[in-house]
Amino acid sequence: MEYIQISIDGILYGSSYSLIALGFSLVFGVMRRINLAYGSSLLLGVAIALWVENKLNTSIIFFIPIVLFFCSLSNLYVERFCFAPHNTKAGVVVSMISSFAIWMQLDEISSQLLPDRTHSFPSLEISTFEFGGLFFRGDQILNIFIAFIISAVLFMAVYKTKYGIVLRAVSNSADTAKLMGCNTNLVNSLTFILAGILGGIAAFLVLSTESQVTPLFGFWCTVKGLVAMMIGGLGSLTGAFWGGLLLGLLEAHFSYQFGPVFREITTFSILLIVLIIRPGGLMGVNIYKDLKSRDERI
């Protein structure tokens, strides 16, 4: 019974990882680029939103769109500054480093905006309930549900709509898509805005379950989202969802068995093992067999 409870807690906690990994996956899937500033751009969005909210004292219903707006705005800034200038093949690594530099910048701006170590964050106040002797946190159930819906909606959007066709064309070969008349610049910007909205939802849900925000949130987001995506499969939306849950489950068990330091140790050990054995992720393509990934050398 104890183990079942830990597993449930782990999977529910992992839903936060899934939510963040989805945004990562979207950007990687379309642009074949890793946005390392993703976590801190969400933190900046949240920080500006909290600052605005302090001035205006709005209710939670208005607060959510404010968070989404500023998250997508800061994501757009990252795209324009780090990714748009480096859209050649040689720019893969350069844009990664550039986004890393912007990570530092956004983190610093956020900690200037949130000078205290912790700030309270509006909580959704959904109570914990019991079912057959097991405890479930209501807000985390909501998270997992929304993560599932988001991944399903994204999947539909990418495979069933016209925008999705353009996205996949750009992802497959940006040059060819350009020749066919796609505005790749616009598509990339839209993808980042979409990832920002997605991340805004994720950040809001994660922070409202914690009911506080610290300046470390950006780092936490980037690392956990990246690990969850890499475990699940690079650029695979369903992979990101399941990768997050798996990461949460394993972390919960290892930290229960060996102590809190092992939460982090587990995260990085799993990542290293997955990268060594199956670098494309558990549900992604096998990068040794997939000719395209081999040529790209990303």
């Binding site: 200038p85 550039s98 890393f100 610093e108 330091v261 990085f268 290293l272 050398r297």
Partner: protein, 300 residues
């Protein structure tokens, strides 16, 4: 020279070791987010050998070099099939694993001058080598700077060797390198190992200078700074990484009114420099252009 200025210069020298080690890995075409861990391992090894074992500083730094290099060797062999992004993330996770395991190492000894030895999250205190040997900050700067210069002169000397030219080719295009009979595997493993050793050596000096080290000092931000320095400096010449160090610490940190916004400015500056110079300030192209001009002048 004021003490403040000496401290800034020493910090610049010490962090240059990470920048150079990142540079060495960039030459073979990989990006490592993990050099800070080798720096940390080197720091712990030197601290242990000088305090607990009472070894000479030269032997201690040599141990730091060798142990860090062997950890780097493990990393390079484990990730032999990975490249680019995958290698970057693998090196990051390897480094974080090493750093987190430092939290678990506890071995302390009580002496007359206080507790010494690695003590988990509390860190390693009382590394008293500087005080015991009466080394003034200026003298330490001379030691650190001269060993850094020795490394750089060695690299400049090696730059025209066949080894480095082949390594650059491996970094540029593995398939071309293979087709003319170069085996990328050996170059990759060799350079990653050497880079780990250089970072470990710098870490050893860092431990002696700081007299106190703890695992949280060797977090990802340290490694990324080192990487950013060598990226903006450029891959053309071993002096490139030092330009990055100079811009960040020499310009931004030492100027008082800028230092509060240092991270904001430096982050933006790196991104801006990368837009203007995608290959860094001293890019290979620039170096070959200068070389050609020099050759023309001597011919004329």
């Amino acid at each position: 020279m004021s003490l403040y200025f000496v401290t800034i210069l020493t910090n610049m020298t010490l962090i240059s070791f990470i920048a150079i080690s990142a540079y060495l890995i960039l030459i073979v075409g990989e990006v490592s987010f993990g050099q800070q861990a080798f720096f940390g391992i080197g720091a712990y090894i030197t601290a242990t050998s000088t305090t607990l074992l009472g070894l000479d500083i030269v032997i201690a730094l040599f141990f730091s070099f060798m142990v860090s290099a062997s950890f780097a060797l493990v990393l390079s062999v484990l990730t032999v099939r990975l490249s680019g992004l995958y290698f970057a993330v693998a090196s990051l996770s390897f480094a974080e694993l090493l750093r987190l395991s430092l939290y678990k190492i506890e071995y302390t000894v009580e002496t007359s001058s206080g507790t010494i030895g690695p003590n988990g999250p509390e860190g390693f205190q009382n590394i008293r080598w500087i005080f015991e040997n009466n080394i003034s900050p200026e003298n330490f700067l001379v030691i650190a700077l001269s060993s850094l210069l020795a490394f750089i002169i060695f690299l400049i000397f090696m730059e025209s060797s066949k080894l480095f030219k082949n390594a650059r080719l491996v970094g540029k295009d593995q398939i071309v390198a293979q087709s003319i009979g170069i085996r990328p595997f050996f170059y990759r493993v060799g350079f990653i190992t050497l880079a780990g050793g250089v970072a470990g050596f710098g870490g050893g000096l860092f431990a002696l200078f700081n007299t106190y080290i703890e695992p949280s000092m060797f977090g990802i931000m340290l490694g990324v700074h080192g990487l950013a320095y060598s990226i903006i400096g450029g891959l053309g010449y071993p002096l490139g990484p030092l330009i990055g160090v100079f811009i960040d610490i020499g310009l931004l940190e030492s100027v008082r009114f800028l230092s509060e916004y240092r991270m904001i400015l430096f982050g933006g500056l790196v991104a801006a420099i990368l837009i203007i110079f995608p290959e860094g300030i001293i890019s290979p192209r620039l170096v070959s252009r200068i070389k050609r001009k020099l050759v023309k002048k001597t011919n004329a």
